[in-house]
Symmetry: D2
Subunit: 342 residues, 4 copies
């Protein structure tokens, strides 16, 4: 059995742990061969491969990023893409493909399996934790840990100057990172995309925190929006190259808070720091087990299946189920956490 | 409603987060009063209390340890203990008690509720993660993270000198910390109490690792034992005070490996470092939610209930169920991880 | 002897360690009393004090920020400021003042001592490490450590996507943080305020790094400027409140690099995260020793003196000497580090 | 010019940074070739070499350990050792040798240069910071940081149980790690090899700390000894293999404190964790600069010179001067720190 492996979409701590798990078990227990594909779907599309065996996966467990590279290439959008992928898989004598990626990358795998008979197995990957059908995805815990440590640090600088500190974290469509890091970091306001916020309410929380003689920390997901949707857009402007420059919600919030409460406010945008570097122990555990179970799914010929976490168990679900809808923050959970606001 | 809170047993990162969650929600949403009891069951036994209100829980979220102190006092082993506890609760007009602790501390709560009508609610606490009925307990993730970071560091020193490094971690009866940190740290051998080990097999793994030109890391839970149970005991000796000095299993292993493989071996015993200091983001999230749900159980009068994690949900289970038997590592899971040995 | 203590200017990890060192030695060895002044020079100006004794400094060593608060208040700019400061010091029977701060805060201390006979001793504080007369200031090592860890993380995300990652760090007038963290983080380009940069050279380094099949990391101090000084200014624009919005140099660089090299580029702005949170061990050591030596200077009546680090020794220098000119990066040192560019 | 490089003695975070600095500057600026020698002096003794060029040093900056391996081999103790080293250097056409190591490794370099005309340049390496002629050695800051973080964690577990926690750190002959990490970690007692301790005084400090309602942390260098030198020796015993088992001073202290004060005490022995893993930013800076200056010394033909840190400058000193005597903790400095004891 010859198995191809690819990683697609944005990078995520733990990708290398998945790859290592797949290869170690595949070679040692099942005697499989492996082909690494470079840069996500671009690999099979262009027949760009890399050696993938036990020596190739030594020492990669603690390393962030992906030794296979990544891209957002979609074979369905390339001229004759599906045909080329199938031809290239055949040329490499690849019997099965393990696809590690998010909604888009896995969506391609599901369609190739369902419609074109490709033998694919999926491993979910999203740093935002917004894939249905799995309790957690690897990378998320690392991102939350980095954001929490940053928020811990912001507290002391906020207190020393009695300023508002706004911390913008990742999360375009789902507020999981903001919710977890905000709670863990003891934030006084947490704003998520799922719940358009009322700027007056935000300012009320800020003011109430100052009244208790503490300085407020506002954690905001990059995709959070005010209830009156036009407001952030007003802050758009053209930069010197004529591009529209959409000010991030964090910066916008800081200005609004300054204007409305009269208190100084500063913004930190964590950005790519959240998705790089060594994975947390939790993510190494989860990613490794995803890898071990993905190769088991290959052995079982369970095409179209995706590994997922349920409690402490790794289970299999149809890829299609996992990518059907975004897993967003339940209003009840947001309300539960809201007891710490203000 | 007046609610007493106590923390018993060994300390654990996240205890303060539980206390803060209880008090914030209890005061703000339900208007309850609180009484902090000092040093576990010693508090109600000796009526030793401490003020517990919103100002008392400010800033404690990231702090390890417990602001209430802890002990292993058991009122059932004290002269008139149960009577004194009941009298002291009545004297403080305490209507309900939230008991945060492990098997022993919770066992007292269960008996007081079942046999003596005390209104108690439990919150599980064990750094070893060995309580049934909950997927994880807080403190465990922090301990695994600390151990993993240590193992990461040991790799480089092992490689530079081509030595065996043995790392002894916590886990007297269950190997969860060893299993998780060993896997996450890329250990070549992991030994747990649930599976008596064969020293010849250990040496075979060590030798095989050297053959691949790498230096082996052996992670061993403090409670792991060799198959031939007498062997470790032979290493006993009397110290200068006439006490029996049982050499830890880590030190014993290093000596055996040196003797049998001819390779140099060194031991690190992480000890209390694993249970102190700031909790990880995961543990702060879990502990806080345990606190929020414990006060809800009080509001519902759900005496004898314990909060527990199932997947991503906090549920309630009878305390008795949780403390009935130890949650140990499943042989199938140990075998799954075993693909990385050697 | 009664000693007042104040902390002024931007906050900096290690301030609390200085305060603790002063008070522990002052009380235990010399039997002094202390008065804490709130919010820098605002404290003596408005006679706003806080209790400062051994219990007040317990547990503050590892905590970021300052228990005394800080501000940029300048008594020379307040109506009758000097007179009020002198009266308030007299009212509190304060014999000597220990002033912990940067150029501005210490400048006030120097003038009050020289021109108005106030008994002041200085402790240098600047996270940017740009004060003359001392090898290092506390807070700098912590900031460099945080920035280095962020750069470490950016490497993996850069490699996985073969993108340029620009990391903007603190340093308005001096490039010490950029230079140290850039070198320690293995950056491929480091830009500092002392050396106006040539954007064509930057792009040449970026391109050369890609040619070696690696992704470039560009570390830039917030105060770095291109040789043609107008260029960044062109990127100014008005935001929705009519304020001038000066795009940071990091964002500007990313756009220029994208435009000129055709490679994707992303920016991370670390911001206040660099100056908050627990100090590094180095900073705790340095700050504590500064505190111990500052109280010795008080005992010696060495008014107008500032403590400073020379090698491993703490020495005393005139405040005026330290604040006379900025300590900037020597061109020779920048060139030495330049061997790693590209 | 062809330059050999070797690393000897115990490993130390930063060794790879030195190697990278040497090679990057040597190749890019001076056009030199390099030969890596394996495992310290064993390399030239047995002509065991490894390729050392720009690709070989990519990515090694943040990695602990040494890519060249290390050993304690001494050519002066090997049959015909000096002759073989000289022959092997000639066989490889090596014109100069950069020797990175501690007292022993550098001592060999000094003798080979002085007595046998070998062209050697030294780079000091000792995690214990006990080499004369340099303010700091790389690796020390990393070790102090790791020990400080461990002590931070021990505080909370000590407080929660009101126990004494003893933390044994590295330092056989010099107490630098104990002194710096003990001060930075807020220890209540620090014991170093330079100052034999009085166990009664230790117990007095412990008791005084409890009286203030806090739990004491005792930091002890592994080489610290009680004034009555016989005492620790009494704790010796034979293990099951008939080896003498010298209980560490940390364990001995805990027992003595328990016996004399009646308080519970626990010991943590950090061990090899202190010398492994990624170097701190400070150590990466220092090690890199040592590398850059070592290759400059080669270019200058400054045989027998060693690079050293003086303040913020890298200077050159004769190797012999640096290895002549151990740099130990000055009694005045120990007394300065003593204000925090008890």
């Amino acid at each position: 059995m010859r198995v191809g492996v690819l990683t697609g979409g944005g990078d995520c701590p733990g990708l290398n742990a998945v790859i290592r798990g797949i290869v170690r078990k595949g070679v040692q227990e099942y005697g499989y061969d492996f082909v690494g594909y470079r840069d996500g779907w671009r690999g099979p599309l262009e027949n760009d491969t890399v050696r993938l065996d036990i020596p190739a996966v030594r020492g990669i467990l603690p390393r962030g990023g992906t030794i296979l590279g990544s891209s957002r290439t979609n074979p369905f959008q390339a001229e004759g893409g599906v045909r080329r992928v199938k031809e290239n898989l055949a040329a490499q004598e690849v019997d099965a493909l393990i696809v590690i990626g998010g909604e888009d990358t896995l969506g391609v795998a599901a369609r190739l399996t369902d419609e074109y008979g490709v033998h694919a197995v999926g491993v979910p990957k999203t740093i935002d934790n917004d894939l249905s059908a799995t309790d957690y995805t690897f990378g998320f815990d690392t991102a939350v840990g980095i954001a929490t440590e940053a928020i811990d640090r912001l507290h002391t600088t906020a207190e020393s100057h009695m300023r508002v500190l706004v911390c913008e974290v990742m999360g375009r469509h789902a507020g999981w990172i903001a919710l977890h890091s905000g709670l863990a970091g003891g934030a006084n306001v947490i704003l998520i995309p799922e719940q358009p916020f009322d700027i007056d309410q935000v300012c009320a929380w800020v003011t109430s925190r100052f009244r208790a003689s503490y300085a407020p920390i506002v954690v905001v997901a990059e995709g959070a929006v005010p209830r009156d949707g036009d407001m952030v857009l007003k802050d758009e402007s053209l930069d010197s190259f004529g591009h529209v420059r959409l000010s991030g919600v964090g910066e916008w919030l800081a200005k609004q808070i300054e204007k409305r409460t009269g208190k100084e406010a500063r913004t930190t945008v964590l950005g790519h720091v959240q998705r790089g570097g060594t994975p947390s122990a939790f993510d190494r555990w989860l990613a490794t087990r995803f890898g071990l179970h993905a190769i088991d799914a290959v052995r079982d010929g369970d095409w179209g299946a995706m590994v997922a976490l349920r409690g402490t168990e790794i289970v299999r679900v149809p890829i299609a189920e996992a990518t059907a809808r975004l897993k967003t923050v339940d209003p009840a959970l947001y309300e539960e956490v809201g007891v710490f606001f203000g």
